[in-house]
Symmetry: C2
């Protein structure tokens, strides 16, 4: 942030980047925004930019950390299935009208810490089940959509525990602005260059057509199949509605489809995982024939087990993603306790649903066809981090030969 720019000006630039690069919103599109109440200063800027770009309606579906916690803490224990389905209906109507969707994450990673995990788990299940129609549409890139972050006081306290609240706020906003290139002299041009660089990596891997990846690092000895027709994606995507958008800001990853039937060995998480308001820490997963057969966690193992027990698809993987340990976010050297950031600091894999667009022609397939091609279906899609500066990854070709993809957490090939 240059010293002569106020925070308000930075929010305005951030809003421009979100609407123009992230969503690439078109005139006449309605926009649905899901966000916590404490992000209102940013949301107002986004609404302004969206309306100036010709949005027909900006419909904000606000949540509130305190109200969510009050429910988890005090609501009758038999009320977990009460769900405001009209919120999902609203998002589906915006999608029907040709709209776009923005999600702003700013949640307290420890929001539901210490509460009745049984009830919290049931609330989470109701959320997963009711939200599935929207998730399904978004995860096949039917529309232009984007996930970004905003400051939250509890989140900042977690990331910067040694700083006073005002300093922690400044540091978290600074990290968000820098990671999303809002501090660049021309953020839009900086994003164009960045997307081109990610595209070169994904093109290289695409040409390789590896049949599997093999991971080695302390605690991890793991291999993961890549099905025929898997597609490497990075930077931006073309939605079914014809709009090219950037689904995550920040984004430093190249990712593709793992084969739901082929994962073997044990993989250790290198970051804590914030899931449903609780942090799962020091955990590992063991796979046989693509299926999780054992979970181990130093903290909140029961929540990790609930996640895996959600449905059959939650015992398998839906995404494999490569990020060098020296990525701009990894270089910061601290945890964000937030997937949007941490997944861009580290190689990761995701439990649960796969993206249709990571399989060539995947959008055209029935669920059954997608699954038999190696794709995974689940109510969940939960990324967790497995990369570090000690990780080596090999690409394995059809004939069994191996090529280095990453060494000591860094790209092992030039583009």
């Amino acid at each position: 942030m240059s010293s002569n720019e106020t925070h308000q000006q930075m929010l305005a630039k951030y809003a421009e980047v979100i609407v123009k690069i992230g969503l690439n919103l078109r005139a006449g599109q309605p926009l649905s925004i899901r966000t916590p109440t404490h992000t209102s200063a940013l949301v107002r800027e986004i609404a302004r930019v969206a309306y100036q770009k010709g949005a027909s309606l900006v419909d904000v579906l606000w949540s509130d950390d305190g109200v969510s916690r009050a429910r988890a803490e005090f609501a009758p224990r038999d009320s977990h299935d009460e769900y405001p389905v009209w919120q999902v209906d609203g998002m589906l109507k915006i999608i029907e009208k040709g709209g776009a969707m923005l999600t702003i994450v700013a949640v307290d990673p420890d929001l539901l810490n210490g509460l009745d995990t049984g009830f919290v788990g049931k609330l989470q299940q109701a959320q997963l089940k009711n939200f599935d129609p929207v998730r399904t549409i978004v995860m096949r890139n039917a529309i232009n959509w984007c996930v970004v972050a905003a400051y939250g006081s509890a989140w900042a306290r977690k990331v910067f525990p040694d700083f006073k609240p005002a300093q922690a706020e400044e540091k978290l906003w600074q990290a968000i602005f820098e990671s999303t290139r809002v501090t660049e002299p021309d953020p839009i041009a900086a994003w164009d260059r960045h997307i081109q660089n990610l595209r070169k990596r994904s093109d290289y891997l695409q040409a390789k057509k590896y049949s599997a990846l093999s991971y080695k690092s302390p605690g991890t000895d793991f291999s993961l199949g890549l099905p025929p027709g898997h597609k490497w994606v990075g930077g931006n995507s073309l939605a079914e509605n014809g709009i090219v958008f950037t689904a995550n800001m920040p984004t430093e990853e190249i990712f593709t489809l793992p084969d739901r039937h082929r994962a073997e060995g044990t993989v250790a998480a290198t970051f804590p995982l914030s899931y449903g308001g609780n942090l799962i820490e020091d955990f590992s997963l063991t796979f046989e024939n693509g299926c999780i057969v054992k979970v181990n966690a130093g903290k909140n193992q029961s929540i990790l087990q609930q996640l895996v027990d959600t449905d059959e698809g939650s015992t398998r993987l839906g995404e494999v993603s490569l990020v060098p340990a020296s990525s701009p976010i990894g270089k910061r050297g601290y945890l964000f306790y937030n997937t949007l950031f941490d997944e861009n600091a580290s190689c990761h894999i995701a439990i649960g649903r796969a993206y249709r667009f990571t399989l060539i022609g995947g959008e055209e397939l029935t669920d059954e066809e997608f699954m038999s091609a190696g794709g995974n279906i689940s109510l969940n899609h939960v990324d967790f981090m497995i990369g570090s500066g000690k990780m080596d990854i090999d690409g394995i070709k059809d004939d069994g030969t191996r090529e280095p993809v990453m060494r000591s957490g860094e790209w092992a090939f030039d583009v």
Copy 2:
């Protein structure tokens, strides 16, 4: 506020009063809350109390002043009919499930000041039209519902322009807490006493069965028919769902049904009226045969005219309400620029829809029957203040004899 009570403790007491006296929420009821994002500290307390009372779901429909203003200022001029109908659907579903409704007002009285009044008027019309199904249910007291206030920075600045923001915030919260008896040693008991006092006034007027009221004060020479079967209401009400609730906090008024066909003369407003984000000031209305035939305003006359032009029912009256000028809110001696407060400082009347429960048996009638009995139907219900320390009101009996009801703004009868 006693010096040893923190603001957070006062919010908790306020939440108790709202949930227990205002809504009288019952175990198992879902609760729908409409409120601006900046009220989240209060809403969290309300959610806690509601869940502790056994609410099955607290669904908050947040609005945001800044997002609303962004739309009015920047949205395409042909987009006024885009409306998030799913928000209304959500409220109707909560009502269907036997729920209660809370509205928290905290809006900037000048929110849309200076913007394109034509577009703002069209947005307002779309809101009135789409919200009408909810308004109709609430206005016949089908469910327990309540309207309360919370601090907003722009609102506080308007009420206390000579104070610094932190002082204005403290003063506005203090006014809210005092007016809602939260500062009393036992707020619940204080409300019980207050409701009994209002009940005595309404019982007195009910026994009188006046056929009309006649108003005299500077700028006002006005008479208003009261139809046979009109019912005076004050303090609390019995909803169709069997729950006794208090619809407004604060409430200092005794009100009933005016005859839509009988209003004659000119009535001058004694307070500015905040309508749809703009203040209408220094205005008067002239009636013939119950119908507004002339409007005059020193400021925002076109917005007042838009209000009256909404529909046929907006040219007529739907409520007549008596409040002594020395009411606890009137005694404060300043304007709140907010109907919930200002209407409890002054006698007032309302343009538009009448409450069914202000006519004996009114809930059972068709719209046509209700209208021929003197009731009014409209998309609007807009209270405006006509009382002052200089107002005299007479009750007129069937035989034409007159009795004093108020003199110099104060009750002219004992109970």
